[in-house]
Amino acid sequence: MSIWERLSKIDRRIIYLLLALVIIIPIVFRIPSTVAVSESAQMAYDVLDGLPAGTPVLFSTDFDPASMPELRPMMTAVLRHAFKKKLKVIMMGHWPTGIPLSTIILEEVAQEFDVEYGVDYINIGYRPGAGLVMIQMGREIRSVFDIDITGEPLDSFPMMKPIHNYSDIGLVACFEAGDMGEIWARYAWGRFGVRIIMGTTAVVTPDIYPYLGSRQIEGLIGGMAGAAAYEKLIEHPDKAMIRMSSQAWAHILIVLFIVIGNIGFFMMRRIERIKKKRTE
Protein backbone atom coordinates (compact mmCIF):
# COMPACT_ATOMS: atom_id res chain seq x y z
CA MET A 1 0.00 0.00 0.00
CA SER A 2 1.45 3.34 -1.00
CA ILE A 3 1.55 6.22 1.44
CA TRP A 4 -1.23 8.02 -0.48
CA GLU A 5 -3.47 4.99 -0.35
CA ARG A 6 -2.84 4.73 3.36
CA LEU A 7 -3.79 8.37 3.81
CA SER A 8 -7.07 7.85 2.00
CA LYS A 9 -7.90 4.70 3.96
CA ILE A 10 -6.98 5.43 7.55
CA ASP A 11 -8.19 2.71 9.91
CA ARG A 12 -11.28 3.91 11.78
CA ARG A 13 -9.73 2.84 15.07
CA ILE A 14 -6.94 5.38 14.66
CA ILE A 15 -9.53 8.08 14.06
CA TYR A 16 -11.47 7.00 17.15
CA LEU A 17 -8.37 6.91 19.34
CA LEU A 18 -7.17 10.37 18.33
CA LEU A 19 -10.66 11.78 18.67
CA ALA A 20 -10.98 10.32 22.17
CA LEU A 21 -7.69 11.98 23.17
CA VAL A 22 -8.73 15.32 21.72
CA ILE A 23 -12.00 15.16 23.62
CA ILE A 24 -10.63 13.95 26.95
CA ILE A 25 -7.55 16.19 27.28
CA PRO A 26 -9.36 19.56 27.34
CA ILE A 27 -11.91 18.22 29.85
CA VAL A 28 -9.28 16.77 32.18
CA PHE A 29 -7.00 19.82 32.04
CA ARG A 30 -9.96 22.20 31.90
CA ILE A 31 -8.63 24.04 28.87
CA PRO A 32 -10.92 27.03 28.32
CA SER A 33 -12.29 27.78 24.89
CA THR A 34 -13.16 30.83 22.87
CA VAL A 35 -16.89 31.05 22.55
CA ALA A 36 -18.59 32.75 19.66
CA VAL A 37 -22.11 33.85 20.42
CA SER A 38 -24.29 32.94 17.47
CA GLU A 39 -27.06 35.28 16.42
CA SER A 40 -29.74 32.74 17.30
CA ALA A 41 -28.45 32.22 20.87
CA GLN A 42 -28.22 35.98 21.35
CA MET A 43 -31.86 36.23 20.26
CA ALA A 44 -32.89 33.65 22.88
CA TYR A 45 -30.95 35.51 25.55
CA ASP A 46 -32.48 38.86 24.61
CA VAL A 47 -36.03 37.51 24.75
CA LEU A 48 -35.61 36.06 28.24
CA ASP A 49 -33.65 39.09 29.39
CA GLY A 50 -36.41 41.39 28.22
CA LEU A 51 -39.10 39.77 30.37
CA PRO A 52 -40.17 41.79 33.41
CA ALA A 53 -39.46 40.19 36.79
CA GLY A 54 -42.27 37.97 37.99
CA THR A 55 -43.27 36.77 34.53
CA PRO A 56 -43.93 33.02 34.49
CA VAL A 57 -41.70 31.03 32.14
CA LEU A 58 -42.63 27.48 31.18
CA PHE A 59 -39.64 25.15 30.89
CA SER A 60 -40.18 21.93 29.00
CA THR A 61 -37.75 19.03 29.31
CA ASP A 62 -38.15 17.12 26.09
CA PHE A 63 -35.02 15.01 26.30
CA ASP A 64 -33.70 12.07 28.22
CA PRO A 65 -30.34 11.14 29.73
CA ALA A 66 -28.85 10.33 26.33
CA SER A 67 -28.68 14.00 25.37
CA MET A 68 -27.91 15.17 28.88
CA PRO A 69 -24.28 16.16 28.16
CA GLU A 70 -25.49 18.76 25.67
CA LEU A 71 -28.81 19.86 27.07
CA ARG A 72 -28.13 19.81 30.80
CA PRO A 73 -25.59 22.69 30.78
CA MET A 74 -27.93 24.55 28.43
CA MET A 75 -30.99 24.19 30.64
CA THR A 76 -28.89 25.01 33.70
CA ALA A 77 -27.69 28.25 32.10
CA VAL A 78 -31.19 29.32 31.02
CA LEU A 79 -32.60 28.44 34.46
CA ARG A 80 -29.88 30.52 36.10
CA HIS A 81 -30.77 33.39 33.84
CA ALA A 82 -34.46 33.02 34.70
CA PHE A 83 -33.87 32.93 38.45
CA LYS A 84 -31.43 35.82 38.22
CA LYS A 85 -34.10 37.86 36.45
CA LYS A 86 -36.58 36.82 39.18
CA LEU A 87 -38.88 35.09 36.72
CA LYS A 88 -41.30 32.40 37.89
CA VAL A 89 -40.31 28.96 36.64
CA ILE A 90 -42.80 26.23 35.76
CA MET A 91 -41.03 23.00 34.89
CA MET A 92 -42.66 20.28 32.85
CA GLY A 93 -41.68 17.72 30.23
CA HIS A 94 -42.94 15.62 27.37
CA TRP A 95 -40.42 12.81 27.76
CA PRO A 96 -41.21 10.64 30.80
CA THR A 97 -37.60 9.53 31.18
CA GLY A 98 -36.47 13.15 31.31
CA ILE A 99 -38.55 14.14 34.33
CA PRO A 100 -36.18 12.87 37.06
CA LEU A 101 -33.41 14.68 35.21
CA SER A 102 -35.33 17.94 35.06
CA THR A 103 -36.07 17.63 38.78
CA ILE A 104 -32.36 17.23 39.51
CA ILE A 105 -31.41 20.21 37.34
CA LEU A 106 -34.18 22.45 38.72
CA GLU A 107 -33.39 21.69 42.37
CA GLU A 108 -29.66 22.10 41.77
CA VAL A 109 -30.04 25.54 40.21
CA ALA A 110 -32.73 26.63 42.69
CA GLN A 111 -30.30 26.05 45.55
CA GLU A 112 -27.97 28.69 44.11
CA PHE A 113 -30.68 31.33 44.41
CA ASP A 114 -32.94 32.61 47.14
CA VAL A 115 -36.07 30.99 45.75
CA GLU A 116 -38.86 28.96 47.27
CA TYR A 117 -40.78 26.00 45.84
CA GLY A 118 -44.36 26.84 45.01
CA VAL A 119 -43.69 30.58 45.19
CA ASP A 120 -40.90 31.12 42.68
CA TYR A 121 -40.79 27.79 40.91
CA ILE A 122 -42.80 24.63 40.53
CA ASN A 123 -42.37 21.24 38.90
CA ILE A 124 -45.51 19.83 37.32
CA GLY A 125 -43.94 16.80 35.67
CA TYR A 126 -45.17 14.82 32.68
CA ARG A 127 -48.45 13.92 31.06
CA PRO A 128 -48.68 11.69 27.99
CA GLY A 129 -50.12 13.11 24.79
CA ALA A 130 -47.57 15.68 23.53
CA GLY A 131 -49.51 17.85 21.06
CA LEU A 132 -52.79 17.12 22.81
CA VAL A 133 -51.32 18.21 26.14
CA MET A 134 -50.14 21.45 24.53
CA ILE A 135 -53.59 22.17 23.14
CA GLN A 136 -55.28 21.43 26.47
CA MET A 137 -52.79 23.71 28.23
CA GLY A 138 -53.80 26.48 25.87
CA ARG A 139 -57.27 26.32 27.40
CA GLU A 140 -56.55 25.47 31.02
CA ILE A 141 -53.34 24.02 32.44
CA ARG A 142 -55.29 22.30 35.21
CA SER A 143 -57.20 20.18 32.70
CA VAL A 144 -53.99 18.21 32.17
CA PHE A 145 -51.76 19.11 35.12
CA ASP A 146 -54.06 19.23 38.12
CA ILE A 147 -51.28 18.34 40.55
CA ASP A 148 -47.54 19.00 40.76
CA ILE A 149 -44.86 16.31 40.76
CA THR A 150 -45.31 15.63 44.47
CA GLY A 151 -49.06 15.13 44.09
CA GLU A 152 -50.17 18.47 45.59
CA PRO A 153 -52.98 20.32 43.79
CA LEU A 154 -51.75 23.24 41.66
CA ASP A 155 -54.04 25.71 43.39
CA SER A 156 -52.32 25.06 46.70
CA PHE A 157 -49.27 26.93 45.34
CA PRO A 158 -49.51 30.72 45.38
CA MET A 159 -47.59 31.20 42.14
CA MET A 160 -49.98 28.99 40.16
CA LYS A 161 -53.20 30.72 41.22
CA PRO A 162 -53.28 33.34 38.44
CA ILE A 163 -51.84 31.00 35.79
CA HIS A 164 -54.42 29.26 33.67
CA ASN A 165 -53.13 29.03 30.12
CA TYR A 166 -50.53 30.37 27.70
CA SER A 167 -51.90 33.89 27.96
CA ASP A 168 -50.62 33.94 31.54
CA ILE A 169 -47.19 32.65 30.54
CA GLY A 170 -44.59 35.05 29.21
CA LEU A 171 -42.40 32.54 27.46
CA VAL A 172 -41.97 28.85 26.76
CA ALA A 173 -38.35 27.66 26.94
CA CYS A 174 -38.21 24.11 25.67
CA PHE A 175 -35.21 21.82 25.38
CA GLU A 176 -35.37 19.35 22.59
CA ALA A 177 -33.66 16.13 21.60
CA GLY A 178 -36.37 15.01 19.18
CA ASP A 179 -39.25 16.44 17.22
CA MET A 180 -41.23 17.78 20.19
CA GLY A 181 -39.86 21.24 19.38
CA GLU A 182 -41.69 21.27 16.07
CA ILE A 183 -44.86 20.23 17.90
CA TRP A 184 -44.40 23.15 20.32
CA ALA A 185 -44.07 25.53 17.38
CA ARG A 186 -47.01 24.00 15.57
CA TYR A 187 -49.49 23.87 18.45
CA ALA A 188 -48.45 26.28 21.20
CA TRP A 189 -47.30 29.00 18.80
CA GLY A 190 -49.56 28.08 15.89
CA ARG A 191 -52.79 27.95 17.84
CA PHE A 192 -52.13 30.18 20.83
CA GLY A 193 -49.33 32.47 19.74
CA VAL A 194 -47.19 31.86 22.80
CA ARG A 195 -43.60 33.09 22.60
CA ILE A 196 -41.06 30.28 22.37
CA ILE A 197 -37.31 29.95 22.69
CA MET A 198 -35.73 26.60 22.09
CA GLY A 199 -32.61 24.77 23.13
CA THR A 200 -31.73 21.81 20.94
CA THR A 201 -29.07 19.15 20.53
CA ALA A 202 -26.75 19.86 17.62
CA VAL A 203 -28.38 17.02 15.68
CA VAL A 204 -31.82 18.58 15.97
CA THR A 205 -30.76 22.22 15.45
CA PRO A 206 -30.90 22.33 11.63
CA ASP A 207 -34.48 21.04 11.82
CA ILE A 208 -35.50 24.02 13.90
CA TYR A 209 -33.88 26.78 11.83
CA PRO A 210 -36.92 27.19 9.54
CA TYR A 211 -39.08 27.97 12.60
CA LEU A 212 -36.60 30.63 13.66
CA GLY A 213 -36.45 31.98 10.13
CA SER A 214 -40.22 32.41 10.05
CA ARG A 215 -40.14 33.83 13.61
CA GLN A 216 -42.38 31.10 14.95
CA ILE A 217 -39.79 30.79 17.67
CA GLU A 218 -37.81 33.75 18.93
CA GLY A 219 -34.48 32.23 19.82
CA LEU A 220 -32.52 29.05 19.29
CA ILE A 221 -29.71 27.72 21.45
CA GLY A 222 -28.09 25.06 19.31
CA GLY A 223 -25.96 22.27 20.73
CA MET A 224 -22.96 22.59 22.99
CA ALA A 225 -21.89 25.76 21.16
CA GLY A 226 -25.22 27.36 22.01
CA ALA A 227 -24.97 26.25 25.64
CA ALA A 228 -21.47 27.71 25.91
CA ALA A 229 -22.64 30.93 24.30
CA TYR A 230 -25.45 31.19 26.83
CA GLU A 231 -23.02 30.61 29.69
CA LYS A 232 -20.93 33.41 28.27
CA LEU A 233 -23.95 35.70 27.95
CA ILE A 234 -25.05 35.19 31.55
CA GLU A 235 -21.40 35.53 32.63
CA HIS A 236 -21.44 32.23 34.44
CA PRO A 237 -18.90 29.93 32.74
CA ASP A 238 -19.56 26.28 33.52
CA LYS A 239 -19.47 22.84 31.95
CA ALA A 240 -20.48 23.82 28.44
CA MET A 241 -17.56 26.24 28.03
CA ILE A 242 -15.10 23.53 29.01
CA ARG A 243 -16.79 20.84 26.92
CA MET A 244 -16.83 23.33 24.07
CA SER A 245 -13.06 23.26 24.05
CA SER A 246 -13.21 19.50 23.40
CA GLN A 247 -15.71 20.05 20.67
CA ALA A 248 -13.64 22.77 19.02
CA TRP A 249 -10.55 20.59 18.87
CA ALA A 250 -12.60 17.60 17.77
CA HIS A 251 -13.94 19.64 14.85
CA ILE A 252 -10.44 20.65 13.90
CA LEU A 253 -9.27 17.06 14.07
CA ILE A 254 -12.13 15.96 11.82
CA VAL A 255 -11.31 18.74 9.35
CA LEU A 256 -7.69 17.58 9.41
CA PHE A 257 -8.74 14.04 8.67
CA ILE A 258 -10.92 15.24 5.81
CA VAL A 259 -7.99 17.20 4.37
CA ILE A 260 -5.63 14.23 4.75
CA GLY A 261 -8.17 11.90 3.16
CA ASN A 262 -8.53 14.27 0.21
CA ILE A 263 -4.79 14.63 -0.28
CA GLY A 264 -4.51 10.85 -0.42
CA PHE A 265 -7.47 10.66 -2.77
CA PHE A 266 -6.07 13.29 -5.15
CA MET A 267 -2.61 11.87 -5.23
CA MET A 268 -3.93 8.41 -5.98
CA ARG A 269 -6.10 9.76 -8.75
CA ARG A 270 -3.11 11.58 -10.21
CA ILE A 271 -0.95 8.49 -10.09
CA GLU A 272 -3.70 6.49 -11.77
CA ARG A 273 -4.03 9.09 -14.53
CA ILE A 274 -0.29 9.11 -15.13
CA LYS A 275 -0.32 5.31 -15.30
CA LYS A 276 -3.18 5.41 -17.77
CA LYS A 277 -1.37 7.88 -19.99
CA ARG A 278 1.74 5.71 -20.00
CA THR A 279 -0.16 2.62 -21.03
CA GLU A 280 -1.82 4.61 -23.81
Partner: protein, 212 residues
Amino acid sequence: MRRQIPLLLTFLTGVAIIIAFFIPHRPFNEVQDILIDWAIIITGFALLLGVHSLLRKHITHIQRKDSGWGFSLILTFFFIGVFVAGIISAFQYKGYSLTPGSSLYFVYDYMVIPLSATMFALLAFFIASAAYRAFRARRLNATLLLVAAVIVMLGRVPIAENAFFKFLTRFSDWFMFIPQMAAKRGIWIGIALGAFAMSLRIILGIERTYLQ
Protein backbone atom coordinates in the same frame (compact mmCIF):
# COMPACT_ATOMS: atom_id res chain seq x y z
CA MET B 1 -63.57 -10.59 3.65
CA ARG B 2 -60.29 -10.69 5.53
CA ARG B 3 -59.10 -7.84 3.35
CA GLN B 4 -62.30 -5.91 2.80
CA ILE B 5 -63.06 -5.15 6.44
CA PRO B 6 -59.67 -3.57 7.27
CA LEU B 7 -59.82 -1.58 4.02
CA LEU B 8 -63.30 -0.35 4.87
CA LEU B 9 -62.21 0.59 8.40
CA THR B 10 -59.20 2.47 7.02
CA PHE B 11 -61.39 4.33 4.56
CA LEU B 12 -64.00 5.27 7.17
CA THR B 13 -61.53 6.48 9.82
CA GLY B 14 -59.50 8.35 7.21
CA VAL B 15 -62.55 10.17 5.89
CA ALA B 16 -63.85 10.84 9.42
CA ILE B 17 -60.56 12.49 10.42
CA ILE B 18 -60.53 14.63 7.27
CA ILE B 19 -64.12 15.76 7.86
CA ALA B 20 -63.39 16.47 11.53
CA PHE B 21 -60.55 18.75 10.49
CA PHE B 22 -62.97 21.07 8.71
CA ILE B 23 -66.02 20.84 10.99
CA PRO B 24 -65.60 22.14 14.52
CA HIS B 25 -69.21 21.23 15.37
CA ARG B 26 -70.06 18.29 17.63
CA PRO B 27 -69.82 15.32 17.21
CA PHE B 28 -67.15 15.71 14.50
CA ASN B 29 -64.69 17.55 16.73
CA GLU B 30 -64.68 14.60 19.11
CA VAL B 31 -63.74 12.00 16.49
CA GLN B 32 -60.03 12.61 16.75
CA ASP B 33 -60.01 12.55 20.55
CA ILE B 34 -61.91 9.27 20.62
CA LEU B 35 -59.61 7.66 18.06
CA ILE B 36 -56.53 8.87 19.95
CA ASP B 37 -57.91 7.41 23.17
CA TRP B 38 -58.42 4.09 21.43
CA ALA B 39 -54.92 4.22 19.99
CA ILE B 40 -53.43 4.89 23.45
CA ILE B 41 -55.29 1.92 24.93
CA ILE B 42 -54.32 -0.39 22.06
CA THR B 43 -50.68 0.73 22.24
CA GLY B 44 -50.63 0.00 25.97
CA PHE B 45 -51.80 -3.54 25.45
CA ALA B 46 -49.57 -3.98 22.42
CA LEU B 47 -46.59 -3.62 24.72
CA LEU B 48 -47.57 -7.02 26.12
CA LEU B 49 -47.07 -8.44 22.62
CA GLY B 50 -43.58 -6.97 22.65
CA VAL B 51 -42.76 -8.41 26.06
CA HIS B 52 -44.08 -11.80 24.94
CA SER B 53 -41.97 -11.71 21.78
CA LEU B 54 -38.84 -10.66 23.64
CA LEU B 55 -39.08 -13.17 26.47
CA ARG B 56 -40.13 -16.05 24.23
CA LYS B 57 -37.14 -15.50 21.97
CA HIS B 58 -34.62 -15.30 24.79
CA ILE B 59 -36.07 -18.06 26.97
CA THR B 60 -35.93 -20.39 23.94
CA HIS B 61 -32.29 -19.34 23.47
CA ILE B 62 -31.52 -20.25 27.06
CA GLN B 63 -33.39 -23.56 26.89
CA ARG B 64 -31.65 -24.58 23.69
CA LYS B 65 -28.30 -23.24 24.90
CA ASP B 66 -27.82 -21.49 21.51
CA SER B 67 -24.57 -19.63 20.97
CA GLY B 68 -24.58 -16.51 23.11
CA TRP B 69 -27.32 -17.83 25.41
CA GLY B 70 -25.51 -16.15 28.30
CA PHE B 71 -26.56 -12.77 26.93
CA SER B 72 -30.15 -13.96 26.79
CA LEU B 73 -29.86 -14.99 30.44
CA ILE B 74 -28.55 -11.54 31.40
CA LEU B 75 -31.33 -9.87 29.45
CA THR B 76 -34.04 -11.98 31.07
CA PHE B 77 -32.54 -11.44 34.52
CA PHE B 78 -32.44 -7.67 34.13
CA PHE B 79 -35.87 -7.55 32.52
CA ILE B 80 -37.37 -9.24 35.56
CA GLY B 81 -35.19 -7.21 37.95
CA VAL B 82 -36.20 -3.81 36.57
CA PHE B 83 -39.82 -4.89 36.31
CA VAL B 84 -39.88 -5.90 39.98
CA ALA B 85 -38.06 -2.70 40.98
CA GLY B 86 -40.67 -0.68 39.07
CA ILE B 87 -43.60 -2.42 40.76
CA ILE B 88 -42.06 -2.08 44.25
CA SER B 89 -41.24 1.60 43.68
CA ALA B 90 -44.72 2.29 42.39
CA PHE B 91 -46.26 0.80 45.52
CA GLN B 92 -43.74 2.40 47.84
CA TYR B 93 -44.15 5.89 46.40
CA LYS B 94 -47.85 5.71 45.51
CA GLY B 95 -47.38 5.70 41.77
CA TYR B 96 -44.47 8.17 41.67
CA SER B 97 -42.03 5.36 41.01
CA LEU B 98 -39.19 7.64 39.85
CA THR B 99 -38.98 9.57 43.12
CA PRO B 100 -35.36 9.91 44.28
CA GLY B 101 -34.64 7.12 46.76
CA SER B 102 -36.76 4.49 45.05
CA SER B 103 -35.16 1.38 43.62
CA LEU B 104 -36.35 2.31 40.12
CA TYR B 105 -34.65 5.68 40.53
CA PHE B 106 -31.44 3.80 41.39
CA VAL B 107 -31.74 1.90 38.11
CA TYR B 108 -32.42 5.18 36.29
CA ASP B 109 -29.56 7.06 37.89
CA TYR B 110 -26.86 4.39 37.72
CA MET B 111 -27.84 2.45 34.60
CA VAL B 112 -30.18 4.30 32.27
CA ILE B 113 -28.39 7.67 32.44
CA PRO B 114 -24.81 6.44 31.85
CA LEU B 115 -25.78 3.79 29.30
CA SER B 116 -27.95 6.12 27.21
CA ALA B 117 -25.37 8.88 27.34
CA THR B 118 -22.69 6.43 26.24
CA MET B 119 -24.66 5.30 23.23
CA PHE B 120 -25.41 8.86 22.17
CA ALA B 121 -21.78 9.83 22.68
CA LEU B 122 -20.73 7.17 20.15
CA LEU B 123 -22.18 9.53 17.59
CA ALA B 124 -19.15 11.81 17.90
CA PHE B 125 -16.84 9.00 16.85
CA PHE B 126 -19.08 7.79 14.07
CA ILE B 127 -19.47 11.29 12.69
CA ALA B 128 -15.67 11.55 12.50
CA SER B 129 -15.21 8.31 10.60
CA ALA B 130 -18.19 8.91 8.34
CA ALA B 131 -17.07 12.46 7.54
CA TYR B 132 -13.54 11.29 6.78
CA ARG B 133 -14.88 8.71 4.36
CA ALA B 134 -17.68 10.69 2.75
CA PHE B 135 -16.16 14.13 2.22
CA ARG B 136 -14.04 13.50 -0.85
CA ALA B 137 -13.81 16.09 -3.61
CA ARG B 138 -14.81 13.63 -6.31
CA ARG B 139 -16.92 15.97 -8.40
CA LEU B 140 -17.85 19.63 -8.34
CA ASN B 141 -20.96 19.18 -6.18
CA ALA B 142 -19.06 16.94 -3.75
CA THR B 143 -16.38 19.64 -3.53
CA LEU B 144 -18.96 22.31 -2.75
CA LEU B 145 -20.41 20.09 -0.03
CA LEU B 146 -16.96 19.55 1.40
CA VAL B 147 -16.05 23.23 1.47
CA ALA B 148 -19.37 24.15 3.08
CA ALA B 149 -18.99 21.41 5.69
CA VAL B 150 -15.48 22.53 6.63
CA ILE B 151 -16.50 26.18 6.94
CA VAL B 152 -19.55 25.35 9.07
CA MET B 153 -17.54 22.99 11.26
CA LEU B 154 -14.88 25.61 11.92
CA GLY B 155 -17.35 28.47 12.15
CA ARG B 156 -19.39 26.77 14.85
CA VAL B 157 -16.41 26.41 17.15
CA PRO B 158 -13.88 29.20 16.78
CA ILE B 159 -10.63 28.39 18.58
CA ALA B 160 -9.42 31.97 18.50
CA GLU B 161 -11.00 35.37 18.51
CA ASN B 162 -9.88 36.98 15.30
CA ALA B 163 -11.33 38.36 12.12
CA PHE B 164 -10.90 35.05 10.29
CA PHE B 165 -12.95 33.03 12.74
CA LYS B 166 -15.48 35.84 13.07
CA PHE B 167 -15.97 35.65 9.32
CA LEU B 168 -16.34 31.87 9.51
CA THR B 169 -18.94 32.15 12.28
CA ARG B 170 -20.95 34.68 10.33
CA PHE B 171 -20.63 32.64 7.16
CA SER B 172 -21.79 29.47 8.89
CA ASP B 173 -24.75 31.34 10.41
CA TRP B 174 -25.67 32.62 6.96
CA PHE B 175 -25.14 29.20 5.45
CA MET B 176 -27.43 27.52 7.97
CA PHE B 177 -30.10 30.21 7.67
CA ILE B 178 -30.28 30.60 3.90
CA PRO B 179 -28.99 27.83 1.59
CA GLN B 180 -29.45 25.05 4.14
CA MET B 181 -32.98 26.10 4.89
CA ALA B 182 -33.89 26.57 1.23
CA ALA B 183 -32.80 23.05 0.38
CA LYS B 184 -34.52 21.63 3.42
CA ARG B 185 -37.80 23.34 2.61
CA GLY B 186 -37.66 21.90 -0.89
CA ILE B 187 -37.26 18.40 0.49
CA TRP B 188 -39.99 19.05 3.03
CA ILE B 189 -42.50 20.11 0.41
CA GLY B 190 -41.67 16.96 -1.54
CA ILE B 191 -42.09 14.83 1.55
CA ALA B 192 -45.40 16.47 2.42
CA LEU B 193 -46.75 15.79 -1.05
CA GLY B 194 -45.39 12.25 -0.97
CA ALA B 195 -47.10 11.70 2.37
CA PHE B 196 -50.29 13.20 0.96
CA ALA B 197 -50.22 10.85 -2.02
CA MET B 198 -49.39 7.89 0.20
CA SER B 199 -52.23 8.75 2.61
CA LEU B 200 -54.63 9.03 -0.27
CA ARG B 201 -53.51 5.68 -1.63
CA ILE B 202 -53.99 4.14 1.81
CA ILE B 203 -57.41 5.70 2.42
CA LEU B 204 -58.64 4.70 -1.05
CA GLY B 205 -57.29 1.19 -0.58
CA ILE B 206 -54.91 1.33 -3.56
CA GLU B 207 -51.90 0.84 -1.31
CA ARG B 208 -52.43 -2.29 0.73
CA THR B 209 -49.07 -3.97 1.15
CA TYR B 210 -49.10 -2.98 4.82
CA LEU B 211 -52.37 -4.84 5.30
CA GLN B 212 -51.24 -8.20 4.01
